[in-house]
Symmetry: C2
Subunit: 337 residues, 2 copies
C-alpha cells in the first residue's frame, strides 16, 4: 500500500510528460513562455496526478511571497473587517493573499505580531494606527518592504499611510452639536491609554469643546476598549446620574452609542428631544435602529481598497505614489435632529 507515498512534485510531472521541470514550472506561471498545448497537457497531467503547487518552495526560491501582512486591533469589529475586506478583494485580483493578525488593542501584542508576520517575508505590511512600541517601529523602519499605516494620520509616518484625523472627525460631531444649540456635551469612550484611536477621539473632543469655549470635563470612561453596547449603556446611565443636565453625547463608536440609546429608552429619556446622541463608524445598526443614529462615516472599506491600490502602485513602481487622506463624513440622522 503506497497510500502514504510522497506527494508528486513538478519533477514527477516532468518525467511523466517527457519535458523538463522548467517547462512544468513555466506552465504554472500565467505570463510565461510555453506553447498553449504544452501548458494545457501539463496542467491536465498535474490534475490527474493530484499535484498541488508548493507555494512555500516557490516563495523560497524566488525570495518573494504573495503575502500582504495586515494587523488589526480586533477581528470582531465591523469597521476593521470592512477594511480587511476591501484589502483582500482588491489584492485578490493580483493573486495576493492577506496574512492577518490581530493585536487585541495592545501595542505589545502588535510588536510580537509584526515580528512574526515579517518572518513570512510579505510583500508589504499594513498596520492599524500610527503608534507603536519602539521596537515595533524599528522593525518596520528597517524592513525593506512597503509599510502602510491606516486609520490614522501618523505624526511621523514610517512609510506611507491611508487614514484620517480621528480628532478632526470628532470635531465635526462637536461642531454639529454646538450649531444645533447644545452646550453641555459629554464624551463616552474607553479607559484612557489603551486604544490609540479612541484616545485621539477623546483628545479631539476636548480640543473641539475648548475651541468653542465650552466645558470639556464630562468624560465617561466605559471600560477597556473596545467598548461594547452594554458598556455604552452603563456609561449612559452613569452620565445621566452624574451630569443630569447634559444635552448631547459623543460616543467613541456606534456600538457604544447604540447602547446609550437603549439606555435612554429604558429610562424614558427621549432622544433626540431631551438628549442628542452621536456615534462613530457608520455601523449598520445606526441606520436601522430607532431613532436612527447620527454618526461619522470613516469609509472603512475604502481605506482597505485604497491601501491595496497604494501597495500595488508601490510594487509596480512607476505609478505616482501618494499617501491618502480620507475625509470622514458626518451623517446626521434622527438621534440628533
Amino acid at each position: 500500500m503506497s497510500n502514504i507515498r510522497k506527494p508528486p512534485t513538478m519533477a514527477d510531472i516532468a518525467r511523466v510528460m517527457g519535458v523538463s521541470p522548467m517547462t512544468v514550472s513555466r506552465a504554472f506561471k500565467a505570463d510565461s513562455l510555453v506553447s498553449a498545448e504544452t501548458r494545457e497537457a501539463i496542467l491536465k497531467a498535474a490534475e490527474d496526478l493530484g499535484y498541488v503547487f508548493d507555494s512555500t518552495a516557490s516563495n523560497f526560491r524566488s525570495q518573494k511571497s504573495d503575502f500582504v501582512a495586515v494587523t488589526i486591533p480586533s477581528i470582531n469589529n465591523a469597521n476593521f473587517a470592512d477594511t480587511v475586506g476591501g484589502l483582500a478583494d482588491t489584492l485578490a485580483a493580483r493573486n495576493m493573499q492577506i496574512l492577518l493578525g490581530y493585536t487585541n488593542y495592545d501595542m505589545q501584542e502588535e510588536e510580537r505580531l509584526i515580528e512574526q508576520l515579517l518572518r513570512r517575508k510579505p510583500q508589504a505590511i499594513v498596520v492599524t494606527g500610527g503608534k507603536h512600541t519602539p521596537r515595533a517601529r524599528r522593525l518596520l523602519e528597517t524592513v525593506n518592504i512597503p509599510v502602510i499605516e491606516t486609520w490614522d494620520i501618523p505624526a511621523e509616518p514610517i512609510g506611507h499611510y491611508v487614514g484620517f484625523s480621528n480628532a478632526g472627525a470628532v470635531r465635526q460631531m462637536v461642531d454639529h452639536f454646538v450649531s444645533a444649540g447644545h452646550r453641555r456635551i459629554a464624551f463616552i469612550g474607553g479607559d484612557v491609554g489603551r486604544d490609540t484611536r479612541g484616545s485621539e477621539r477623546r483628545t479631539g473632543f476636548i480640543a473641539a469643546m475648548e475651541a468653542h469655549g465650552l466645558d470639556a470635563s464630562r468624560l465617561i470612561a466605559a471600560g477597556a476598549p473596545p467598548i461594547s453596547m452594554r458598556e455604552g449603556a452603563n456609561a449612559m446611565a452613569r452620565l445621566i446620574e452624574i451630569h443630569p443636565d447634559t444635552q448631547a453625547v459623543v460616543c467613541v463608536s456606534d456600538l457604544a452609542a447604540y447602547g446609550a440609546l437603549t439606555e435612554c429608552r429604558r429610562l424614558g429619556v427621549p432622544v433626540p428631544e431631551r438628549f442628542a446622541i452621536g456615534g462613530f463608524g457608520n455601523y449598520e445598526i445606526g441606520e436601522v435602529c430607532v431613532p436612527t443614529l447620527t454618526t461619522i462615516n470613516a469609509f472603512a472599506r475604502e481605506i482597505g481598497e485604497k491601501t491595496a491600490r497604494l501597495i500595488l502602485d508601490i510594487l509596480d513602481e512607476g505609478a505616482a505614489i501618494e499617501d491618502v487622506r480620507i475625509t470622514p463624513e458626518l451623517i446626521v440622522r434622527d438621534s440628533s435632529r
Copy 2:
C-alpha cells in the same frame, strides 16, 4: 552606500559568533540543545544584526508549516469572527498561525480558496459547513492533513467535524413558540440555494412545523445571504402585509431579527404581545436591544476553541480523537415572552 544589502541569514550570525549555522538554528528553537549562554549571545547578535527569522526557508526545509488554513463565508460576521478568534487564540499557544480566506457564501469561491490555501502546505484545514463542490471535496479527501468541517453536522464527513444541527436548533425555537401557544409561525431567511446553513435552518423550520401539524408555508426570502438588518426589516414589512395574522417569526439570524424588530416598532406592532420574534446566533445586539431578543446560542467561539483543540490532539496523535457535537442553546428573552 550598502543600504540595499541583503538581509542577514543564520550563516551571517554564525560567522560573527564563530559557531556553526546549526547552533544558530538551534538557538531559535525553544526546546533544543544549546547552552543557555550560547543561545543568549546568539539571540543578542541576531537582534543587533537586524536578523529576521525566515519562516519560509524553515517551513520549506522541514516540509511542514505552522499554518492552519481556515475558510469562512464572510469576515464581516460576528459569529464567524468569534469562531476564528477562538481558533486563533487557542492555536497561538502552539505558535501556529491562521491562514484565513473567505468564500462570500459561494461554494465555487470556496473551491478556489481551498486549492490556494492547500498550496501553503498547512498543518490542518478548517472549513465552514459540510457541503462543497465535488472538486473541493476531492481536494480535501486526498490531502493528507486533518480536515475539520464546522458549523454543521455533515451528512458524510470528510474528516472530522465540530458542529451542530442547524435544523435541530431551529426546531428548538419552533417548539418554544408552539408551547407558548403560537400556531401561525413564519420564517424569514435568505434566498434559497446559496447559504447552506441558512437553507438547513429553513428546512428545519418546515420539518418542525409539520411535526406539530402546522402550516409551514409562511416563508419570506429576504435576499441574497447574508441577510442584513435592513433586509430583515423589509422582510418583516412584507410578512405583515402578506400574512397579517402571523403570531411569531423565526429569523435566520439575529441581524434579520433585529431588523424585523425595528420594523415592528416603526409600524407600532407591539413585540411580543402582538408578534413574537426569534433570532439565531446570540449576537450582542440581541441582549441590548429593547425588547431583548430571543435567540439561539450556537457557541461560535467554542466551536473555534474546540476545533483548535481537536487539531492539536490530532497532530499530537496519542490523545483520543472525537468529533464534537455542539448543543445549541435556546435563550428566551423579552421578544417572545
